[in-house]
């Protein structure tokens, strides 16, 4: 048992307040849409909103161009195509989904640009289309991209082989198979995407203020469209109003469009999505069609597992391949199963494109896997808790990729959470209820590979500068997305460097100040991205102790010590340097830095961290996929009105092994947010698409939980001695959401005896077990 509270640190592992609190409560924090330039113009985008697949044959812009205040109308002919690396279009004449942009209008005001849209006449031919993944894979289906004739996104196929499933199934006493399906879901960050572009004509430098999750990623789009070197593209990440994986490609496209219009018209340009546009063009959570088959012994041991995991990529994709790699590594849930075989791939359709969204496939997979486990238990006549404990990962287990895991708190976390919620008793009681209002309790567990793992090198850098007054500037290429990353990075720098937290300033991510450190995704920011911050802090800590010696602060006699001291004899902590044997004599760091500057001594450190490589065999996906895993157990309790299908979520207990809680308050904040987002995913959130047309176009139709919907939430934080991450930290941002929908689905079954195999559990799904449309 290792509940939070037993580790010894000075600054990390404590709940220091957020460094951006003041700006955010006073309205001073600047978001991209708040930026203004003199002489700035606006650009708006035109789409064929009601058509998902078409060839545009003519765009008549003459009337629009006559409208006073309209400066230009761009179409596919007058706009660059993407040249380098991505599979998107800034403007296209071949519409593959409703979000595709077919023209861009630049005008003096936003209202004029919008007015001009109505004056543009578009002629097009509608083309055949496919929307459902089953349809898309049928022979003769319309290919969304010529390069993929059967619509299967070949770059995203992953197959995994562990042990021998044939033998495994032979040994099994029971074989069971089930299929589950999940929906399109929208990030629904409250801030719609926004960019402002401005060009310095004297040197050709393009500056973009952007609501970008990953400024370096956005920079590639701008360099691509203008065909200029990266050192002429300056991306400034403004305060980000939520992202959750959503402000990646979409913001790249937007930034490039604004940059091009700015470059052609020689005026600063602002482009902001309306909520409708944000829902239309931004990526979505991949819907998955998931089939699992398991072979089980009578005693509950799962001896064989087969998985087919098919993702709906939508019309374009640059992420399905990475997401599927993760889905492949997690194809068997948090269980130690000797024989596993799985296939994961994406399929193109004429729907809105799918991309990264908090969890990166795990909420979908767990929705299925964690219900499947309970379906197996039921067939065996065994309590689901028992089945989980028999099969779950523990010290020495091997995960699906064949790698051994250690320091696994999962069994403890499961037992603790079950006990705290009185899970077993309630679970049994609920099965015998009658009456209209029924109670349900449900559990889900997970393991989550921390960071990028073998997906790509999890490397990042950090630069620390100490000024003569001992204040510190921190630069990192990993970005604040609202999760509190700056605060956590300042804590880590303060701990490693030995200065008070308040002395550190990390003012933002700017592509001109630090190398590309990869994306702020995969819950990697704290676990891996900050390793370089720690390293740079430690290096600088030593440098400053050396300076203290060089400058004579620890010569013999100082502080009563008989001998000269060297750096290794000293400690720099909380802004003071001292010799622990003569600790009454404490030299304030500023005394040292003040002199060091004028003596020409270095007071900065840059470090780059590359973790030990994770290597897997490609065809079987066997090997070490991740440096370590986070473990989670969620128990949800709810009430169902069996007359109306209405579900009230009562209590959620979410327990997590976070390794080391760098900032427990921020972690809890992440978990509360994850629970409520997971509740939305489980119950009400679905981007309704009919023939590719988005039905839920604004926040009155795409509903997300309000303060009235929140359950009582309890969070338990566990820590362990696994030191793979920075100060032993593990991922938490995505574990916070991934089990929630699965636990809710299991609770619904416990309440009603009806399995929700198709997410979300809307009224009719709860009442009759299927969706009506």
């Amino acid at each position: 048992m290792a509940l939070y509270g037993q580790k010894q640190f000075h600054i990390v592992n404590h709940s220091v307040p957020r460094e951006d609190g003041f700006d955010k409560v006073t309205g001073r924090a600047t978001y991209a849409a708040d930026i203004k330039y003199p002489n700035m113009i606006y650009a708006a985008m035109l789409r064929l909103v009601g058509v998902a697949s078409a060839k545009v044959t003519k765009i008549d812009t003459s009337k629009a161009l006559k409208l006073a205040g309209v400066l230009a109308v761009f179409t596919a002919d007058s706009f660059p195509k993407m040249k380098s690396w991505a599979r998107y279009f800034y403007i296209t004449d071949t519409v593959r989904y409703v979000g595709d942009v077919i023209a861009i209008i630049a005008a003096e005001t936003y209202a004029i640009a919008e007015e001009a849209k109505k004056l543009i006449h578009v002629t097009y031919e509608e083309l055949p289309a496919v929307f459902d993944i089953r349809e898309a894979m049928k022979e003769g289906a319309h290919p969304v991209h010529e390069e993929y004739p059967d619509n299967i996104f070949t770059d995203s196929i992953y197959t995994l082989r562990k042990g021998d499933t044939e033998k495994g199934f032979e040994q099994a006493d029971l074989i069971i198979e089930r299929t589950y399906e999940t929906q399109y879901a929208e990030h629904a960050y409250i801030e719609p995407e926004a960019v402002v572009a401005s060009e310095d004509s004297s040197n050709g430098e393009m500056t973009i203020h952007a609501s970008a999750q990953n400024p370096f990623f956005t920079r590639r789009y701008v360099a691509d469209i203008l065909q200029i070197p990266l050192n002429r593209v300056h991306i400034i990440q403004e305060t980000l109003g939520g992202s959750f994986g959503g402000k990646e490609e979409g913001v790249g496209l937007l930034a490039a469009r604004a940059a091009f219009v700015c470059h052609v018209l020689h005026r600063p340009v602002k482009m902001v999505y309306t909520r409708e546009e944000s829902i239309l063009e931004s990526s979505k959570r991949h819907p998955f069609l998931l089939t699992y088959r398991a072979g089980v012994k009578k005693d509950g041991r799962i001896v064989a597992w087969e998985a087919t995991q098919i993702g709906n990529s939508g019309a374009y994709n640059n992420q399905t391949q990475f997401l599927n790699w993760r889905a492949c590594a997690h194809c068997a849930g948090a269980y130690d199963i000797p024989n596993i075989k799985s296939k994961t791939f994406g399929v193109f359709t004429n729907n809105v494109h799918s991309g990264a969204f908090r969890g990166y496939s795990s909420p979908q997979l767990l929705f299925a896997q964690e219900q499947f486990i309970e379906e197996i238990a039921e067939e065996l006549g065994m309590e689901p808790l028992k089945l989980r404990l028999i099969n779950c990962l523990r010290d020495g287990s091997t995960v699906a990729t064949g790698a051994k895991v250690s320091e696994v708190l999962l069994p403890d976390i499961i037992e603790y959470t079950a006990k705290q919620t009185d899970y077993t008793k309630k679970y049994e009681q609920n099965k015998t209820q009658s009456g209209r209002i029924r109670k349900g309790i449900g559990m889900a567990i997970s393991h989550r590979g921390c960071g990028y793992g073998a997906e790509s090198p999890d490397a990042a850098g950090a630069f620390l500068i100490v000024n003569e007054d001992a204040s510190v500037l921190l630069h990192s290429g990993i970005a604040e997305n609202g999760q509190g990353l700056k605060t956590v990075y300042c804590q880590i720098a303060a701990e490693a460097l030995g200065v008070p937290y308040e002395n550190i300033r990390f003012f933002g991510t700017d592509t001109h100040r630090i190398p590309d450190c990869g994306m702020t995704v995969a819950s990697r920011g704290t676990v891996m991205g900050s390793q370089a911050v720690k390293k740079a802090g430690e290096k600088l800590n030593l440098i400053l102790r050396e300076h203290a010696c060089t400058l004579g602060f620890f010569d013999s006699g100082k502080g009563g010590a008989p001998n000269d001291r060297i750096a290794q004899d000293l400690v720099l902590r909380e802004g003071h340097i001292f010799d622990p044997s003569y600790h009454e004599y404490q030299v304030p760091l500023a005394d040292v830095t003040n002199i060091a500057l004028w003596k020409g001594l270095n007071m900065a450190a840059y470090e780059w961290h590359v973790p030990d490589p994770c290597i897997q065999e490609h065809d079987t996906q066997q090997g070490r996929a991740f440096p370590t895993y986070s473990y989670t157990c969620v128990v949800a309790e709810l009430e169902v009105d069996t007359g109306t299908g209405e579900v009230t979520l009562k209590n959620v207990h979410s327990s997590h092994d976070v390794g080391t809680a760098i900032n427990p308050a921020l972690i809890k904040g992440q978990i509360y947010g994850g629970i409520v987002m997971g509740w939305g995913y489980a119950s009400m959130e679905e981007v309704v698409l009919k023939n590719g047309i988005v039905g839920s176009r604004n926040l009155d139709e795409y509903l997300i939980p309000t303060a009235m919907d929140m359950p009582n939430m309890k969070v338990s934080i566990f820590e362990c001695d696994d030191n793979s991450g920075t100060y032993g930290a593990k991922s938490v941002g995505e574990p916070a959401i991934e089990c929630v929908a699965a636990a809710i689905a299991n609770a619904l079954y416990n309440a009603t005896g009806r399995r929700i195999r198709c997410n979300p559990a809307g009224l009719e799904n709860v009442l009759i077990g299927r969706k009506l449309w």
């Binding site: 006073t26 309205g27 409250i190 947010g673 997300i704 929140m710 939430m713």
Partner: protein, 160 residues
């Protein structure tokens, strides 16, 4: 364009605007008060919430002519001479902020509630902020912060 004058945060502003502009547009684009945010323009997210004569209202739904003659308070007007209002302090103290995009609207909805009801229950608080969407926090800490600020405003001892 017509000439308007508007009282915002106890200051009179004179400006030119088109009759069909919303209060939100005027605040952000004409008066450079960007604390009110735009999240939907349909009255559904609450990021644009301001106080009109003390009532929490969605500025994206209000035509500028209907705002004239009323007292408008935006988030910029909440901290007098740089001193934070107790609600603002409580939001920081409780960690009721993540991305912060909903924060100005949340705080103003809380203020409208607390100006009328200094001892709200948790469910009254939830109700008062039910028109303000937050995608990051799960609302837990926001409700906590509003409860705490009600204590502060009642003059109870709180070490904030």
């Amino acid at each position: 364009m017509e000439r308007y004058s508007l009282c915002v945060n106890e200051r009179e502003y004179e400006f030119l605007a088109n009759a069909n502009e919303t209060l939100l547009f005027v605040l952000r684009e004409r008066l450079d008060l960007t604390g009110a945010k735009c999240g939907c323009l349909t009255g559904d997210c609450g990021a644009c919430t301001v106080l009109i004569d003390g009532e929490a209202k969605k500025a994206c739904l209000i035509q500028i002519r209907n705002a004239v003659g009323h007292k408008i308070t935006t988030i910029e007007g909440l901290s007098e001479n740089g001193t934070l209002h107790p609600i603002q302090k409580a939001f920081i103290y409780c960690g009721a902020i993540q991305c912060g995009f909903c924060t100005p609207g949340m705080i103003l909805s809380a203020k409208a509630l607390l100006d009328k009801n200094l001892s709200p229950t948790e469910s009254e608080i939830r109700d008062a902020i039910s028109g303000n969407l937050c995608r990051c926090t799960g609302y837990e800490r926001i409700v906590e912060a509003i409860l705490l600020s009600s204590k502060m405003l009642r003059g109870e001892d709180c070490d904030v």
